[in-house]
Amino acid sequence: MTASPPSPEAGADSKAATAQWEAGPSGGECTVKVGGDWQLSDPVPNWSALLNQRAATDVRVMPQDLGKWDTSLVLFLVHGRAWCVASKHEFLAEALPDNLQKLLQQVAEVSAQKTKRKASIESPLVLASSIAKKWTGKVTEVVAFVGECTLGFVGLVRNPGRFRWMDWLVQMQQCWVTSLPIVGLVSFLVGVILAFQAALQLRQFGAAIFVADVVGLTVVREMGPMMASMIVAGGTGVGFAAQLGNMKVDEEIDALETLGIASVDFLALPRLLAVTVMMPILVVYANVLGILGGMFVSAVMLDIPVSAYWIETQESVGVSDVTSGLVKSVFFGMAIGLAGCLRGMKCDRSASGVGTATSSAVVTGMMLIVLADAVFALIYNVLGI
């Protein structure tokens, strides 16, 4: 009775599934004889093919040399019964094996209870309200999380002994280790590209030395902080979301909460502060590598001596330029930490939830970075920095 193994040997002695229609003597009740082996993997008769424009009548199903059978026979009988019910005729299956009858009965009971799902077409107003609700929820979530982090920070200042300093150091180390090579490489290449582009234009006017000004200012004010934070958002920020998301799925965050430990203080704050502290350091490093990239191109392509390039850079890039980049990098770091931790801690309890949380963390992080950059551009413009 079990589904047979699909071995060729087993197939050799299996019989093809059959269903035969026999008209009754009086023309009223007819008999359908089912036999052979019924298996989903093999071609089996179906009810509509058997019907072949027959007039509706009562149907009695009889097993005839019935071998192994599986769901395919059950479905065949379910279709047969539905046909009889639709034409208000009897479907008689008493001659079938008990277990098959039981299964048919079970299916019948459920189909009787089943109600059609209501169509889910909503009016535009309902749709708009649900979208608004969703967004309000999201904004509330972010505000609440920022609030919790702020409270956690206040708690840290009041009682520094309770802060998880070791976690903070480990997170800083990880952020540093994962970001250092790629930030270095990307910043150097950005310096190279900027110098190339500037050189193409400036050489025409015999002003090649000003490549140092262009590279220096662009890297220190914009590209250094921007490139470093983008890389950290893609590496460390996503790492936070994946790690915290998995902790959420495994109920580790619940375990903290039930112990009365604020998960934000325990998990998010060390990460948030780690990336906030690391960002300016990485930006200094990115700035140096960017300027070196420019210097390399100038020395090789434009024949500008390294010393001349350095003096020109010193003259053009002021302390305020460097600090303006560093100040905003602190906020970029906060944005990355917030996005990563928030998405991780609010992740759905499933594998796909973790996936969504990580991609959402990187998108949110980058969006916040660009937003913050725009705000800083405005502020610096007003302040004349």
Binding site: S7, R349, S350
Partner: protein, 267 residues
């Protein structure tokens, strides 16, 4: 065609399994017969799950052979392996339902992969399987929206999707309350009685062992192998091995302790 009496659906010969250099089980030999409910029991760390992983092909045996319907699974090439994989379904300890898919999609995936049935027909089979496990109407729900018992049922529906000849269960009692567990046991028996499916269940839930098992295999960590094999009630009463008696009588001990008094003897 090779015939064995009684028909063995699984034959394990001199199997050794482990991880790297660590041998967890060695010289394991047993057969599972058609329509049988076989329990693999034993204390924690005795290698129950390792044996199961070897049987279902997730872990390569260090030595020995596992064969299904007389065909070696261990030595099978990719095509044969795929054919053999179709003959069994597995219900994992944590259900392993694909979280990004609805229950219907979860159950339909094996059908999509292994049959050429039409979409409509597949949907009907899915509905039937869901009905069979008592989840009719939950087809469009996602695993994360279900209770532990419902997830277990859904996982069973998926394991049954291809009407396999054998179903493996890894700790089916995990996370279930006694009532849900009893219901699950009833379902397992019902499937066996309806389709004649062979069941191999790795568990240490004694109540289920006594309710369902035709035969048990007792594994032991020290012995790194099978220390007893037989009908649970008989083993509990007559085994000469104290470990086996101790394990199989645990439940009886607990029951006795919590009963108001011993059952009154016949007059």
């Amino acid at each position: 065609m090779s015939t064995t009496t009684p028909a063995s659906v699984i034959e394990v010969k001199n199997l050794a399994c482990g991880y790297g250099d660590t041998v967890i089980l060695q010289d394991i030999s047993f057969a599972v017969h058609e329509r049988e409910v076989l329990f693999v029991i034993g204390g924690s760390g005795c290698g129950k799950s390792t044996l199961l992983r070897c049987l279902i092909g997730l872990l390569k045996p260090l030595r020995g052979d596992v064969s299904y319907f007389g065909k070696s699974f261990t030595a099978a090439d990719a095509t044969q392996r795929r054919e053999i994989l179709k003959t069994f379904g597995v219900l994992y300890q944590n259900n392993a339902l694909w979280s990004s898919m609805t229950l219907a999609e979860n159950v339909a995936l094996p059908l999509e992969e292994h049959t050429s049935l039409t979409r409509e027909y597949r949907q009907e089979i899915v509905a039937l399987k869901m009905t069979q496990v008592g989840l009719a109407g939950s087809e469009e729900q996602y695993p994360s929206e279900l209770s532990g018992g419902m997830k277990k049922r859904a996982a069973l529906a998926r394991a049954l999707a291809l009407d396999p000849a054998i179903v493996f269960f890894d700790e089916p009692s995990t996370g279930l309350d006694p009532i849900t567990l009893r219901e699950m046991d009833r379902l397992i028996l019902q499937v066996r009685d309806t389709f004649g499916t062979t069941m191999v269940i790795v568990s240490h839930q004694l109540s289920s062992v006594y309710r369902l098992a035709d035969r048990v295999i007792v594994l032991d960590r020290e012995a790194k192998g099978i220390i007893a094999e037989g009908v649970p009630a008989e083993l509990a009463a007559t085994s000469t091995d104290a470990r086996v008696r101790g394990f199989l009588n645990l439940e009886a001990d607990l029951t006795r302790r919590h009963e108001p008094g011993p059952p009154s003897p016949a007059k």
